[in-house]
Amino acid sequence: MAITEKTPLELGPGDTARYAERPLGVFTRPQEGRGWRDWLSTVDHKRIGILYGASAMFFFLVGGVEALLIRLQLAAPEGSVLGADVYNQVYTMHGVTMVFLFIMPLAAAFANYFIPLQIGARDVAFPRLNALSYWIWLSGAIFLNTSWIVGGGGADCGWFCYSTNSGVAFSPSHGVDFYAIGLQILGIASLVSSVNLIVTCLNMRAPGMTLMRMPVLTWMLLITQFLLLFALPVITVALFLLMFDRLFDAQFFNPDAGADPLLWQHLFWIFGHPEVYIIILPAFGVVSEIIPTFSRKPLFGYEFMVFSGIAIGFMGWGVWAHHMFVSGIGPISVAAFSLSTMFIAVPTGVKVLNWLATMWGGKLRFTVAMKFAVATVAMFTIGGLSGVTHSVAPADTQQTDTYYIVAHFHYVIFGGGVLGLFAGLYFWWPKVWGHFLNERLGNWNFWIMLVGFNLTFGPMHILGLQGMSRRIDTYARGYGFEFWNMAATVGSLLIAVSVLIFMWNVVKSKRDAPHLPPPGPDPWDARSLEWSIPSPVPTHNFDTVPQVHGRDEWWHTKYAENDEGQVVRVATTEEAAQTGEATGVHLPSPSFWPLAVAVGLPLIGYGLIFNLWLALVGALLTIASLYSWAMEPVDDPDAAHDHHEEHHEDDDADPDEESDPR
């Protein structure tokens, strides 16, 4: 809302210097450039992107530890690392963590950082809402994980938490309550962010940047935001029903009272299947940026890429019941959803073929980013093919709830999503931080991860077809499960090693950076607008908002066809790139209120579970913060206008500040 006070604090007549220091204490509006406080109050989309990315990597480790625990438990028959009960909690929280606390926020990091840069904007449409998304996401993530401490253990109903397993009778601890409320909080975060980014994509493009000139990454992220926008309310409904059932004795999933547990399955998968594309489409976008760059060719069939992305977005809404073939939804439904599932493989296949055609005849450079990107295509194809086998309902009846399914979705989500996002990390690292990731370590990271990944999840196809069911905490000797389970466990340890190498790479690259030449604005000779500005990106992004004349605008600034039709370089990067030295650019002022709003939500959550008075406190905090926010002007009239100039002067010698990309 925009009812702002004209000037928030009227100064006394004449004498403005008298109140140089505000008497408002903590209620003083923050200004840029004050160490760690700057990070808490930032509304800069790049910093928020970094916050998303860093937190996502943290939860990657959490989810990874949970994965290792699962694999250790299953390494040998009759494993006893975890008890059955803890095992249930660990695999549930592994799934929830990896989906909601790792891949989605990592994709959000890319979305936040690169959508404005790729469309030539200075920030997102609602900078403070952007900060709000992040802080709500973080508070939800923390809330969800505190169930280990105060909730009597994590949720133990599987990540899709089927009724009636999720009822109080079968899950008496508070774990599922934390699941229900925590995912709602995370949902609010994603919803806010999706509205924000949709408006950004539609409304903040640079002059000439038509929709069909947007880079494919931006396109895929935009489609992802639409999927989030429409899928999240559905899961919100389901979670509300679950919460009312558990906390207030409603009858939504009580079969004794005539309720239908399948309702949960439908609501969950109406959300859950678009969620699959929410996970994979950002990685597709990343790959679609990297492969053309390192093939030195424009993306083959840009329109097909975009429209197949849109087609996936649409068709993703018509296939959800293929997760439910064995739940008794009736032969007609099974046939219909089986068909629609086969059809959705078509646009996905179009994408794979287009990537291959992009590489065909290109001048390939196999950097680590490119290797990850190619591996993404290959691994996703394997996962996609095993997915097609699920669409055949009779076969699926055999595969449901076996390790074949586990193998399939890890090939899609890890092989497609995670490898793709790692490709993005290596690709854009110099843009964000102003130094490369070490390529030698990156190669180790890549190969060990690729081998470990295939060793972990490849054998699961075999295990599943042998009949090993998923979510069992142990298995007896003599079923022939021993060897491949051990192989999978070894593979998972290899993945862990590769992640450690990545972390070491981050540290080492940072340490080595001062001794190496800086990457410059455009180290990979890339194609989209973010490479036309300095690395790391200055606070104001673009000195002048670029005028866009076509697709791959930055590439065409550097290269043109000569009279013989050959592509020749017409400008060096140094000539063409912006210098980042603009002054007087008007940027939105930072604010603490997003953080304050976000702090209130988990309080409401705890309050609903433990004591409603606490919920009242949380609600009051949230609402008061929202009103403070609404009354605070977008731009602090008291703030200096070109803050990025004097930024480095008041360094609090804070560790966060050191890693500040500016």
């Binding site: 539609l202 002059p207 000439g208 038509t210 929709l211 639409f226 926008l229 429409f230 559905v234 239908d260 399948l262 439908h266 109406i270 809404w317 018509g318 019941a321 939804i329 009736g330 439904s333 002048t544 908002v545 005028q547 866009v548």
Partner: protein
């Protein structure tokens, strides 16, 4: 910069439509007339409840749904200004609306709700 920029803005899906907006908002009297129409339709709807007066037979449910859609449409187009604003707004809204109707109709069908 902005002068050259505006011509580049025009793209088929959005820009052409906003020229005729913001001027044509109707008078208060038009709103009142719409409200009267809405009230009359609502009265008709309520009228169906008293079956002793008229027996609607099989036409009952279709006519109720028809009246509902008319009311829905009138509020969205007049009170929410979809009629006068950019089509982009309406598209965002109808996308959600159609998706919701479609997805939930399929769900109810799978539950054999209509049988």
């Amino acid at each position: 910069m902005s002068d050259t920029a505006t011509s580049e803005h025009s793209e088929p899906d959005t820009a052409a439509e906003h020229h005729d907006t913001e001027h044509a908002h109707p008078s208060d009297w038009a709103y009142v007339k719409i409200a009267v129409v809405l009230a009359v339709i609502t009265a008709l709807e309520v009228f169906t409840y008293f079956e002793s007066v008229v027996d609607w037979g099989v036409a009952l449910v279709p006519s109720l749904i028809f009246m509902m859609i008319v009311k829905f449409y009138l509020v969205a187009t007049w009170f929410m200004h979809l009629r006068f604003d950019s089509k982009l707004f309406g598209r965002m809204f109808t996308a959600g609306l159609i998706l919701a109707v479609g997805v939930y109709l399929v769900t109810l069908t799978v539950f054999e709700f209509w049988v």
